[in-house]
Structure formats: C-alpha cells, structure tokens
C-alpha cells in the first residue's frame, strides 16, 4: 500500500465480506490481527475459522502449542528454538501476561516461566478467535516434571472431540506430580477420549496380602487397567502387565517395556493367537528387563518358517511406535526373522527376537507419514537452568493450591 493512501476500513465491511477476507489470511496473520482491537477479535470468532487439530506439549525444555487448519499452521513456544531465523515482533498481552515475542515463519516464540498459566492464557486466546468445536487434539504431552497437577490440566481438554495421543512422562522425578497422576489416572481416562497412550511413568500401590496367616501391606506396581480399553498403548514401565493381560489382549498396538513377562508367557501368547480368530492386534512388542530372551522356549512346539516380509522391507512402519516423542520410530528388522501362519484365517505374523525384545507383527497400520518439519532443538543455556529452578519453586508453592481448586470445582475452567 502506498504510505500516503488512506487505508481500507475493514471493520466497515459487512460480516460476509469480512469473513471472506479473514479466510484468505493464514493463522499467523489472524493471530496478529486479533491484537488490533476487541471488536476485531469478536469478528474473528464470528468468522468461524475452523481449526482442525491442536497439539499441546507441556515439556520442560520447550513447551509448545501448535494449531493446524487445512492449509496453515501456527506454533507458540515458550522458549526460542535454536537455529530458527526469527526477529523481534513486539509485546503481546495475553491474559494477565505481556509477552516479548520473537516471530519466525512458524509462529511466535517467547520466554516465560509460568508454563501452566501461560499455556492456559494462550490457548484461551486462540479459542477466543478460532473455532475449536470439532478440533482433535493430536498430541497432549505432559511432562510431570513441569506439571504437578495433571488433573487440572486435563480438565481443560475434556470437552475437545478427541485426544488422539496422550503422552505422560517425566524428565526428572517429581513425587507430588507422580502421586497426583496416579490418584487421578482413572479420572483422566474416563474424561478424555483417548485413542493412543504413552505412559512413561510408573506407580506403586499398597495392597493387603495374607502371608503365613497374617495380613501385611505390600507395595506392588500400580495397575493401569483403563489403558487396556484403548487402541494403541505404549508402556515404558509395564511391571503390572501380567501374562493374563497378554492372553486377553484387546488392543491394536501394544508396546511393553521393562516387562516381567516370561519366555513361557510369550510362547503361550503365540499359541493362543494361533487358535484365535481375532484380527484386532497388529503389533506387539515386549522388551524385558534384566535378562536375555530364550528363543528356544518362546518358539517351542511352533512351526516357524523363514520370513518373507523382510525380503521387500527393511523396517516395519507402525505409525504408533512412538515413545516420549510424537515422532514414530520404525522398527529395523534384525537378521533372524521368522513367520507363522494360523489356520483359522491364514493370517501370517512376523516374529523376531533380539536379546531382550520380542516382536510380533501382523500388519502395518499405514505407513509412517513424513513428519512435519520440526522445530530445531533448543539448546539449554544458563537461563534455562534458572528457569527450571524457578519453575520448581513455583510448583512447590502452587501445586497444592491448584490441586485443591481442582478438587473443589473440577469445572472451574471451561473453554467453550
């Protein structure tokens, strides 16, 4: 625009025309526009700009919010990604905070210490300008080192259509957060519609057992039974997962790490699979801890043939083979692959056994799609160390208060 030319008063356009203008803008421009005035924010909301997916990563190194519509995406990070060209964009007031932001081609980046409330403020702002009614949360990743009260956080997302993947992990130990998580796990599973879960934390529970005629309290690994009802599970600590659970497995993908299952359990599993006609299971991976697998016991009494799948494939592409990162990791085939076919429906499974991992693959559930260009990793510096320390202090003061608020009024925040 010529600097001398008067501007074009878009707020004088009719609603249909204004909506049409907004729908030609990408998410970053819409975000910028939302800071011009309250009235424009209202118009943006009315324009019904539909957001397809939301990714929320409560992580200790670079907490991130990402939204996507059909042809554009927008990222907000608390922290500056390393090696990403960006320039100072100014101050943006969201909720009760004013953020000094850097802007890159992906979105906005700022340094801020209060991740819980900062996140909430940004998400509420986004919800005030875009339409999230049918938005799917593709990834809700919560690092319990950062988030002490997981229930309050999850409560914010319970009205979303679906959580495709929930990832719970812990970059450094936080007992209060782990306790809160274990106490609220049932609530989380019954309030979020989850399709895939990664549990990177373990828990213990006390049970009363009878020993020599006396009742004693014993600590046992906590059972997370609710995960057995969803489609894709990846458990970093699966001490609680018994042979009985394995034989009645009703999921599509199961990745069990640090498993106590025995070679006999795995042999029984294969035999059970051979006689069943369930076609649900696509992928089973069991990694045992502290011992080597015995292939002879696992394959005892089974008619295994050399595998043919690996002639054309060097790795298996299970899109759900993800751990604490949202990026799927292909399984690279070892040399000694075998296959077995069941007589009930002629389904063939590939079996491979490495020194500590048993791998049972029936079919790929779609290719691993090339991941979106990811932000470069953030390099930790002195500020980050200070930031973590401040976050710890903040959590110590605030954790219990937030938890009490959540218990008192679990519907205290409503996005919609």
């Amino acid at each position: 625009m010529d600097s001398d030319e008067p501007g074009l008063p878009i707020d004088k356009l009719r609603a249909v025309e204004l909506e049409r203008v907004f729908k030609h803008l990408d998410l970053i421009d819409i975000f910028e526009l939302s800071f011009t005035s309250k009235s424009i924010r209202g118009s943006l909301k009315e324009a019904n700009y539909i957001i397809k997916s939301l990714k929320v990563l409560y992580q200790s190194n670079m907490p991130t919010i990402e939204i996507q519509c059909a042809k554009s995406r927008f990222i907000w990070t608390f922290g500056y990604p390393h090696d990403l060209p960006m320039k100072y964009a100014g101050e943006y007031k969201i909720g009760r905070y004013t953020y000094k932001c850097q802007k890159s081609e992906y979105g906005f980046h700022t340094d801020h210490y209060d991740v819980e409330e900062g996140f909430l403020g940004v998400i509420i702002h986004l919800i005030s300008i875009f339409n999230f009614k049918n938005t799917v949360i593709t990834e809700l990743s919560i690092d319990l080192s950062v988030i002490e009260d997981i229930r309050t956080i999850c409560n914010h997302f319970k009205k979303f259509k679906k959580v495709e993947r929930l990832s719970i992990h812990q970059s450094f130990p936080n007992e209060i957060a782990a306790t809160n998580f274990n106490q609220n796990f049932n609530w989380i599973m019954s309030n979020l519609k989850i399709d895939e879960i990664y549990l990177g934390v373990d828990g213990v529970e006390n049970v009363i057992v009878q020993k020599n005629g006396k009742f004693v309290i014993r600590e046992v690994p906590k059972r997370y039974d609710e995960v057995l009802n969803i489609n894709h599970i990846c458990l970093n600590y699966s001490e609680w997962f018994s042979s009985k659970d394995l034989l009645s497995l009703g999921v599509k993908t199961a990745i069990l790490q640090n498993s106590p299952l025995t070679d006999e359990d795995l042999n029984s599993f294969i035999k059970t699979w051979l006689t069943s006609n369930s076609s649900k299971l696509n992928w089973l991976e069991v990694q045992v801890s502290g011992r080597y697998l015995n292939e002879n016991i696992i394959t005892k009494d089974l008619s295994l043939l050399p595998d043919t799948h690996s002639l054309m494939n060097t790795c298996c592409s299970c899109p759900f083979r993800k751990f604490d990162s949202p990026t799927p990791i292909p399984f690279i085939f070892p040399n000694n692959l075998k296959q077995i076919t069941r007589s009930t429906d002629s389904t063939t499974a590939t079996i491979s056994i490495t020194h500590d991992t048993f791998f049972f693959h029936i079919r790929d559930d779609g290719p691993i799609t090339p991941p979106n260009p990811t932000l470069p990793p953030r390099q930790l510096n002195e500020n980050d160390a200070n930031r973590r320390l401040e976050e710890r202090f903040r959590l110590a003061f605030r954790g219990r208060r937030l938890f009490q608020i959540a218990v008192d009024d679990e519907d205290n925040v409503n996005f919609f």
Binding site: L8, P9, K12, R14, E17, H24, L25, D26, T36, I50
Partner: protein, 201 residues
Amino acid sequence: MSVENAPVVDVDEAAIPVEKKMYYRFESNDKKEFRVSELAIQQSETLNRLVEAMGYTSEDVENKPAIAIENIDGKTLKLVFQWCEHHKGEAIPVDDGSVPKIVEIPEFDAKLMDIDNGLLFKLIWAADYLNIVQLLNVSCKKVANMAQGKTPAQLRRVYLLPSDEEDEAAKRAAQEAQDPRAREVEEEFEERKRQGGNSFF
C-alpha cells in the same frame, strides 16, 4: 434520464460471442447505463436470477427501461461488468470450506483492481451485493494480502482500525449524544472523586 440520453459505457464488447445476441441494459444509481452480455450476467447470481425472473425478449431489452441497480455507482458498476465480461463462461467456484483459501489473482483482475482503497471497498461491496463469487474472492484476497507479515500496529493503520480506547470513546460519545444527563452525572462523579469522597451517595 431517457434511454437515448444515457451515457453508454463500453464494456469490452469485442469479446462478446456471436451466438449470444442478448445484451441487457443496466443503470447505476448515478444514471450511467451499461450493456452487458447474457453470458457475462451469469457470473452474478443476483442479476442472473433477476433477468430470468423478468423473462425479457430481445425487443424488451431494447424497448423497456434499463434495469436499475440502486445501490451501486457507475464507476464501480463499470469495474464489475468489465470483470464479468472478461470471465464470462467460466465456472463459478464452489467453497470447499478449507482455510486459508488459496486464490491466485489473475493478471487481468490485478490490473482491474489497481484502484484506490475507496473504490476497492465499493467493489467488494458490489461483488457481495450482486453475489459474484469469484470477484468477491479475488477482491477479498487483495485486501487480505495487505495484512501479510504486518504487526498489530501496522494492521491498525492499513485497515483503519480504531484501538479499544478509541472504540470505547466513540461508544461513550454516542451514548452521551443520546443522553446528555449521563455526561452531567459522570462529571459530578469525577468532581466528588477529586474532592476526596469515595462514595457517590
């Protein structure tokens, strides 16, 4: 103004196909008359329905008064009909609901819209009023392009957006204009505050 005396604006008549003999006559709100081919009119859902409902014959078109378009001036209507003639016969795009819209502004359209913002504003308004989907698309795209890479402060200048404070002030002024007593009450309240009273009553 009689039909004979009305100024006739040329609208790229060389491009009018031989097989379409019918030209409708339209008159803007400043009494400028335009002759537009039947095929070009199809780009506008509003005008297309109107002429279908009128059921004019070739004689009617010549003998009856031009169809008046009350809300659009001649300068804007000329641009609209130039656009319609250039794009006649083209399919009308259907919105697939995806955002942001991917719209390329053709060279002809870019030249046509190389106009001041006041006229561009009227063009958008006319495209919407006459329901010319693709013209509305390209004109809105042009307005959207003005926002690319701008900060909120720059956007306020480009789009002449009042700040929240200016909005509030304008709202207050409008209220006060309606109710002069409100201003008096506010002044009285301010005066009492200055005198140190913390209660109005």
